[in-house]
Point group: none
């Protein structure tokens, strides 16, 4: 490798973080988001405070079209700006009659991001049009969109490969977009094959010819260096970084923003998300992983559950004494924690805060016991970080409280299926409970076991507890956990509930999926009844 | 960031790859290797052709001691050299009576690697000795080992942090090792917090004072840039790269050699393992993952199962025509392969390719019908790109084929729970099938409904289909899909199966989780029986 020929500029003071989970990230094999999922992921990204959220491609499929129709009413972004993705006009067509561009305008976002081919061979072999027409498609489309009051970002697809083979054409496309009024030109390493040296060299070269428009970077991790490539681009003058929290995306994934954000903010002093929100990084990364139902790697830089875990007694006590000797950053800066120590210190203070929040009086000894119980339960597969309802019940029980609404005697669920592929399936549940001296029993059908159990339980106790009518189960999630050698797999069920005043999540864990579901259902109902009582008492 | 002040040397022609799965990699949480496992991992690494295999720390624990006792008889390395790891002598003790050094000599390897502290604060706060004594410990230990005919590598622990705070001391330690005859000085980013810029800068600086001894690099992935850091070090003159195939290791892991090796060999033209063995990379990475019982990520650069997978109709047909437009390298170079993924967006050409792959003859009209059916099913919640087994059955049915092994008459699953929180739960399933004129019925218990159904079905038909004994369900995943307002949620179940020759995934979708599980289970068994039949026919 020759020595560097380019003088790198000073690092920018700040860059815009652009998350594309909802568009490019969703290309990951096995990842499929409903419109509801997309809205909830966007809420998390806004809570974290990324500058831009790419929501999808309106018009490309019914799901994305519906998302852009619904976001206006169902999604209130406080920090982030929503971006609609699309392409330039089709070759040989007018912008005015182009369906893709029209769908972009109708998506009604302030910002749009359109993709253009910057590798000459893609123009010739995939688009099958001339290089001149490809440039005109960019000029026309950017102009059309800016006239329709859009702020326009241009994704230069295959930019780095294109620049290697035909730099003149690649730069011509960027120049056309700049002339037509694009706000940011994003250099995409679409096939993910570049190394940091290539990125630095190329961005520095682009900077010489694109002087008045800001640049962005969009990397894929095919060579295992997407985060480093993004840092290299920033140090060469780029001010927008695209990627995905947790590095979702097709093939090896997009740039993992969970690493790029703290690398930039904490190590290079380049502002990304608001600094005081950096501590939301770990909880948001975990929450999004739950929403997209992809277990995050415990080894994931900054946010993984193992990355601040320390083995060995002596080492761990040394860590407690001089954390900076053993940890590259203070884990609390990104909302993570030193594991060995956390369970006894940061964990305790978190629990104490939670207890205070609930108005519960728990002394130090009791907190220690709860921590031990929590650790044992989490080891068995419980995950209280995402089950606030169950955590609250656990804390309440620690004060000596016991739910006294009803006692469960038994439940039974029967699922019957007759016939081959297209047979009929029925499920009925029977629940037996006692309230005081009285015994109640009810049987109900449902479209599945949880639904049937819920219906039977409500039939049993509904007349005694009017509040039950307001408690709705709004979501049900299941994950099978391999707890490791020795024990078998267990199933973890999460149920979200709502009573019009509050929403809460409860958890159940068991080898048996029906039992795990019942635990979460039972906890949900108890939580709802407790809060109805607190409200009527208060 | 200031511009670079150092002229980087030309890239070296070759570097030595040093794998430390058996030592540093084994520090990963949840990873525990028997002596037998270690021997088999070493065989794989030798088959791949890494220069050095670090086998463990003789004397530090009984397992590693036994490994070094047994390797002489049980392990014949053809390409790699085994390395024993240890530390310098203890502070204030003589080398001759030092147990660690004696165990290193007795391990009887040609090469040893010893760790020395190069961060002054670690010497003072952890070792609790003087900087002078720390330097003497290095000189004495290297001298002792070379006199005992060892080739000695020195791991400079916390080198980059040490160099930042006290470069004079960090360099003094290296200088002492060089003087005493060490063959390679390995700069370790022990806490994993450095970025490529730091690495380049520091290595270039070290190169100015260490002129006659070769340098190595040992990175951790805490900032998400371990591979890039290793490449940066090589471009600054390092000629030994330490890490682990699959990036095992504590916290965020060591440098993933599965990425660093092809980055160096294919993109920077630096020789690593013998070039003709690079195609062993994917099979060896997967084999090692099996041995250490850690499922590899499908997104892992170069060797993951998803990293050369292509989605989408138009795109997939373009890939078939001009692979280099869409793939950063030819996947066969690293023993991986292009895989076509069939999904909602799939076009006719994708399906046609898949049919050809299976040896099925499907004409255009039939393909059109299948495409419509696929789209309808995917809209209902099926997801065929992750269920290759179910897709294959669907394609086979389209040729007019029907499974004729057995007909299901009915199934029933009963789950009973007695008592409150800590009650007992039992599940039993009854399955009734017909094979020809005969009717079979069986009831079995299980730890959950799927397990019980599987057991009952096997009891019914197991004696008729010997192949069933080889078919194992290896994983079970559940996802609840909210298909949107109006319709209820459906449950999607995926089951992975294995028969010793093949692995496959099947899918079931239903409002009822039991029914969805049954569909996936039934398809899995049918797929297994079809392939057993094809093998015995063929």
């Amino acid at each position: 490798m020759e020595s560097h020929h380019y003088d790198l500029p000073n690092l920018p003071q700040a860059v815009d973080i652009f998350d594309t989970i909802l568009r490019d990230g969703s290309q990951q094999e096995g990842l499929s988001l409903t419109v509801e999922d997309k809205i909830r992921v966007a809420e998390q990204l806004d809570h974290l405070g990324v500058a831009y959220i790419e929501g999808g491609w309106p018009g490309a499929n019914p799901k994305d079209t519906e998302f852009f129709r619904r976001f206006k009413h169902e999604l209130t972004l406080k920090t982030s700006t929503l971006v609609a993705f699309g392409s330039t006009r089709r070759a040989g067509h007018a912008t005015e009659s182009d369906e893709v561009l029209r769908a972009l305008v109708e998506a009604d976002t302030e910002v749009v991001c359109i993709v253009a081919k910057t590798w000459d061979r893609h123009v010739e072999e995939a688009l099958k049009t001339s290089l001149d027409e490809a440039v005109a498609m960019v000029s026309d489309s950017v102009e059309f969109l800016t006239k329709n009051d859009k702020r326009v970002f241009l994704d230069g697809e295959h930019f780095f490969d294109g620049f290697r083979e035909n730099p003149e054409f690649a730069l011509r496309v960027l120049g056309a977009a700049e002339q037509a009024g694009a706000e940011c030109l994003v250099l995409c390493d679409t096939n993910g094959g570049s190394l940091p040296g290539d990125i630095t060299h190329t961005v520095a070269h682009v900077r010489e010819s694109i002087t008045s428009t800001s640049l962005g970077i969009h990397c894929h991790n095919d060579a295992g260096v997407a985060v480093a490539n993004s840092l290299a681009a920033v140090s060469a003058g780029v001010t927008q970084v695209q990627g995905c929290i947790n590095g979702y995306g097709e093939r090896a994934g997009n740039t993992d923003l969970s690493a790029a954000i703290p690398d930039l903010s904490l190590k290079l002093n380049v502002r990304t998300i608001p600094l005081e929100r950096l501590e939301r990084l770990t909880p948001v990364a975990h929450h999004i992983a739950e929403l997209v139902n992809h277990a995050p790697s415990s080894q994931q830089p900054y946010v993984g559950t193992s990355v601040f875990a320390h083995k060995g007694g002596l080492h761990a006590s040394a860590v407690a004494k001089s954390k900076d000797l053993y940890e590259h950053i203070d884990p609390s800066l990104v909302g993570n924690g030193t594991r060995v120590v956390v369970s006894e210190m940061a964990g305790r203070s978190t629990l104490a805060m939670k207890a205070t929040e609930l108005g519960l009086d728990l002394d130090g000894a009791v907190l220690g016991e709860i921590l031990d119980e929590l650790k044992a339960l989490e080891h068995a597969g419980y995950h209280f970080e995402v089950a606030d309802g169950s955590l609250e019940l656990l804390l309440r029980r620690a004060t000596g409280w016991k739910p006294e609404f009803f006692d469960v005697e038994s439940y039974r669920v029967i699922t019957d299926h007759t016939g081959d592929d297209s047979g009929t399936v029925t499920t009925e549940a029977t629940v037996k409970v006692r309230i005081g001296d009285q015994r109640f029993e009810a049987t109900a059908e449902g479209n599945g076991p949880v639904n049937a159990l819920d219906a039977a339980l409500r039939e049993c106790i509904g007349s005694h507890f009017g509040a039950l009518a307001h408690i709705r189960l709004t979501d049900y999630r299941v994950r099978v956990l391999d707890t490791g050698v020795g024990t078998g797999a267990v199933t973890r069920v999460l149920i979200d509930s709502d009573d019009g005043e509050k929403t809460w999540t409860t958890i159940g864990v068991s080898e048996n999926i029906i039992e795990a579901s019942w635990q979460a259902l039972y906890a949900s109902i108890i939580f709802g009844l407790v809060h109805a009582q607190l409200r009527s008492d208060g």
